[in-house]
Symmetry: C2
Subunit: 233 residues, 2 copies
DNA sequence: TTGTGTGAACAACTTCACAGCT
DNA sequence: AGCTGTGAAGTTGTTCACACAA
């Protein structure tokens, strides 16, 4: 996971990482509700819509401030605004996607991208044959132009969708160019200097975690379990 | 997130979730090393290659058993075997991918898939025009045939790469068909019955988390007084 | 010496349960 | 009466530091 944020000095006025990771889920649920006719939500209703329990919702939201009303709940629109602001979604973020294989294409065409505050400002590849081509309405540039692109288009977030062997080099170039947040899809451990945030999404790891639990299911759970723990197979 | 471990509450012979999530990372690093000429690794070397600290490596590996040698380290091949076994990768898992848009295609063509123990046993879509077409060497089937496919091909893992609005229905069908592990890429909260494991990968959430930290960087790090004085409004 | 394995301290996160506001 | 906000208790995960084996 990314390094822990915590400001350089002084008391940590920060929101817990676990909470930050759930705010986007709440936000999505709230936006869904706001399209209906819901003026307010209770922590309970929001919890159900978000797949967590209500105590967690209340604790999480309490980190943003006291935005609820006792006996009533939270104002949907106001909460949407507060969460958006906290997540930095009231401004636009320029994103560069590097690597335009299958995954890069999928990401470029991913709707939820532009959805909230994220704008694909550059598509980058090393394949000269692809440069100039348009994907999702954006012209593909060459990796060698990265410095210029990042500077000119104020890109602060880089998405790596290259093969594993190219990922660290691409990451280094992104950082040198001035990108300060990196989302890595390549199945490799990357390192970045302090001050740069790094997150990863790894399909293979997710599958292996499922495999672990799946295996546990078929193994008959210990001896003498009543009624033959009917493992459906 | 996925529900906590299924199965009866006995003595917890289990490995902590946090450890399970790191085992695939260690495994990848080890496989990389085994291609070189490394007979053994220290927890320190493995830690560096995995992007964690060595205490964590030792604690994690200790959950598998005492497979290291004091003063020496861990035998690479043996560790690979033990981790693979623990993760259930010594057997093959049949996977179905549902939804063959950009993302589904990307997943189907993703190399690391077949990599370790995972086999694409079915590709499924609702678009009749796509049915019959071959993607990544596998013929696309229709969603209506899911029950048969899951049964005939002993599929236990389902990957959802559909639009959000279709995801819960697809998930329900997968579960009814007999799938017991689901990996969801659709940006929506799914619910599954007990006994079914659910994990999600959500690009939009990852970006929003980066956005949160990115925003914090630009904010001058010392406006911590604001909320400190009583009633925030 | 070197580097594992682990009890113990520490830190983060979750859940409980209820006081207090509306 | 209903629902938030939050101390306190409980749980899980991380790091320390050192005994001990090779």
């Amino acid at each position: 996971m990314a390094q822990s944020r915590t400001g350089p000095r002084g008391t940590d006025r920060g929101i817990p990482e676990a909470t930050v990771a759930r705010l986007p889920v709440y936000l999505r649920a709230l936006v869904g509700m706001s399209e209906g006719a819901a003026g307010t939500v209770s922590s309970d209703a929001l919890a159900v819509a978000s797949g967590v329990n209500s105590a967690k919702v209340r604790k999480d939201l309490s980190h943003l401030g006291s935005y609820g009303t006792r006996g009533v709940g939270y104002d949907v629109q106001y909460l949407i605004y507060q969460i958006s602001r906290e997540l930095g979604l009231t401004q636009d973020w320029a994103v560069a996607i590097v690597g335009l294989g299958n995954l890069g294409h999928a990401l470029a065409n991913y709707g939820g991208f532009v959805d909230r505050g994220f704008r694909i400002a550059a598509l980058v590849d090393t394949d000269r044959a692809r440069v100039g081509e348009k994907v999702a309405g954006v012209v593909v540039s060459h990796l060698d132009d990265l410095d210029r692109l990042v500077a000119e288009r104020a890109i602060s977030i880089g998405v790596i969708a290259t093969p594993a062997h190219a990922a660290q080099d691409v990451c280094d170039r992104l950082v040198v160019a001035g990108v300060t947040s990196v989302l890595n899809f390549a199945p490799v451990v990357l390192s970045v200097p302090d001050g740069v945030d790094l997150r990863k999404v790894d399909l293979s790891i997710e599958l292996q975690i499922l495999s672990f639990h799946e295996q546990r299911k078929s193994v008959v759970t210990d001896l003498g379990d009543r009624a033959a723990a009917g493992a459906p197979r």
